[in-house]
Amino acid sequence: MSNAATEYTLAELCIVASAEAFRYDGEVLATGIGVIPRLAASLAMKTFNPDLMMTDSESFLLSEPNPLGERPADFQPATETWMGFSRIFDNVWSGKRHAMLGPTQIDRFGQSNTSALGGTYAQPKVMMLGARGFPGNSISHPNSFFVPGHNDRVFLAGECDYVSSVGYNPARLPKGHALDDIDIRRVITDLCVMDFGGPEHQLRLLSLHPGVTAEQVQENTGFALCIGDSVPTTPAPTVEQLAIIAALDPHNQRASQIAGNPPGKRS
């Protein structure tokens, strides 16, 4: 698995970088919502963390991830355990899960917003999905974020318009909890990989995608990032990883996930 590819798309780079978030998870339910997070979790399960669990996005756990999109008529999913939506919460509240999600806003505390933008709470300017399962996910188990368009509207300067998920915000810390109990893992974007490992849980740059500069990331982020002296480049996918991704995504849904489907190495 060390045969670095020379040609790959940015989406594929993001899939591989996102898969890394699940490497040391052991046996947890890996939930990737959206094409790139789902392929990332699937890739991790197919390669370096075979202990991961995954659903069919409907009601069963699978021993092998399903490929995305239409499947042959004779395709038999490798179901292993019924896992209807009500049972998902038994898992969530046990903490044995790692979700990777794409909220609309992420603030400097790692709080995120899936619900509403602007206006007032009684009459928001833009209504989105609602709080969904974010409150429960964020207080119960590790979470990572994937952002296909890194800009300062997502990584906003202030606090989220609506806080769907808890972050490292001392002002909101519940009694009896510690900031260190909150476990936000990786933030993968079209520009870079980050985590909240900076001083006082500051968002920290871990690696830059090829051709991206730290300044570019900072300019597109509404708050100060923790940037080390030398930031490594996000590793390229290997040829083997690209083949597995292609098999998991036979209809190339990944090509439509990042605007323009740019190559992974940007000039």
């Binding site: 996005s57 009500s86 007032t120 928001p124």
Partner: protein, 290 residues
Amino acid sequence: MDKRMSAREAVAQIEDGMTVGIGGWGPRRKPMALVREILRSDLKDLTVVSYGGADVGMLCAAGKVKKLVFAFVSLDFIPLEPYFRQARQSGAIEVMEIDEGMLLLGLRAAAWSLPFMPTEVGLGTDVLTHNPQIKIIDSPYDDKEWVAMPALPLDVSLIHVDRADFRGVCQIAGPDHYMDDWFARAANNTIVSCDELVDTDFFHDPARAREVFWERSATSAIVEAPGGAHPSSCSPRYGFDVAHFKAYAASAKDGGINAYMEQYLGADEAEYQRNVGGLEAITSLALPTY
């Protein structure tokens, strides 16, 4: 006890101001024939509790909803439900916006005759900011604070199932029953529409009886409604109607709910089904691939 009745008779049991739970999930197995009957009625001021899809969007748009208890409203492949958005963005409805799991806990508390269920879910988020009626309590066993998620008792629940007998034994043959068992148990009056009415001896097979998720005492009314989940799915019978949902979403930008209802709703379910292409077209809808 013969619990069969028409959709109109069943919906006539609902009163203005009641709290109505709606089973299913997003665009999946929603009791849409019953929702349509509400659209045809002059009911108003309902508090709706739902893992919401077009059920919520339609009822909001038609002015039936005073308050919505929800964690999300979505059509999945159309992530943002257009009429729900309009209702929120125009400030037309009150909301109790909570986490998906909190909604489940509230239903369970009601089903188990409890005032609340403790949970840490919601702590640190705007769920609590905007719901001051949800109390924070201390535990007698630790030094943490806990959310006391209040019970969500329902006056009425509306649920769609695959099959039922006249006494209210209900089978959900699809891959997931979602939270429908808790909607049934949390309600004072559970109205169930079914794609197929069967004789009681249909269930005299343990494999089928396993697909019955609440005892018949938790069912109050049975409405025979083949294709009654349309345009939502009733897997494994039929998928959701992508074209219809697209037309529905488009109507929010052009014409509004009145134009949509004018075109499709009809005076009863038979007319609705003629307007959307017939029952055979509904039951031929391909299942979605996830």
